[in-house]
Symmetry: C2
Subunit: 170 residues, 2 copies
């Protein structure tokens, strides 16, 4: 009986983790396919008049998702040099943008590393607090856990995918 | 012991459900705030040259989210008249667009109804199959359940929010 009580919750947690991770993977595939399809010239274009370019958005997605590594207590950012220029809302004047080819490699490297970290994280750990919420607040709002961060960052990525798609021919 | 085994999984399921629903609610708040802020003229403008207008995107979000009602076996669509014109990818020529004021009311009515349906759905039901997956496929992929649909539709909404934001002054 004890064995059943301790395996059942983990199997449920694992199902839920799979739901969230598979949605994240789906959004990754969509971004990866799109940036592979777009030309360098298209990626350098603003997604709408006066708005961020494809290159900036890609750097932004890398920087924000890279931030999950420390936020979830998994390790250190892979590309700390992107943090200053790409974690805000828009292009900052004077911020050096890495070449697109480099960003594309960083995107792939990051997703491989996140996949590795996520696969290794025990199911129960996903339901503990992340590093941006205090223990007091987490006690009151236990749904604001590490897995919730991944749900949130996946939505953030979808938001920007809706903008990136505007670089594609109609 | 029996009581504990049966309450524990439901409490976990309830936590997962809360995580997903709170992210959906957050995206709803963001869309609602934005459409309240934008003028009728801004909403009638293409979100980028040659792309969908704010009005079309709002109709689309209503139609797609309304589709969850039947997909999750909760009842019938509230606004079936929107399905033909607004569940595809773009404006279809000759499709009548309801007035913006009417769409805004429908958006609020829909979210209130979905909240009501979601609150009433027992926790275990969220982890059963939805109406677009066969029992055979669901047996192989149990993560493709009703709650997963809500995760997916929330990402879809975020995608279009990233486009709607382009109607806002910079």
């Amino acid at each position: 009986m004890e064995a059943q009580t301790s395996t059942k919750p983990t199997a449920e947690k694992e199902l839920f983790i799979k739901m969230v991770i598979s949605n994240w993977e789906l959004q990754n595939i969509r971004v990866s396919k799109l940036i592979a399809k777009l030309s360098d010239e298209q990626m350098a274009t603003p997604t709408a008049p006066g708005r961020n370019t494809g290159i900036w958005i890609l750097g932004h997605l890398i920087a924000v998702n890279d931030g999950m590594i420390s936020l979830l207590g998994l390790g250190e950012r892979l590309f700390p040099e992107l943090e200053a220029g790409f974690t805000g809302e828009a292009n900052k004047p004077g911020v050096a943008t890495p070449p697109l080819a480099e960003l594309k490699k960083q995107w792939d490297t990051l997703n491989a590393k996140l996949t590795e970290y996520f696969s290794a994280l025990p199911a129960e750990e996903w339901f503990t607090r992340h590093n941006s919420i205090s223990p007091e607040d987490f006690a009151k709002e236990p749904h604001r856990n590490k897995l919730n961060i991944l749900i949130n960052r996946t939505n953030h990525q979808s938001y920007h995918l809706g903008q990136l798609i505007y670089l594609d021919k109609k």
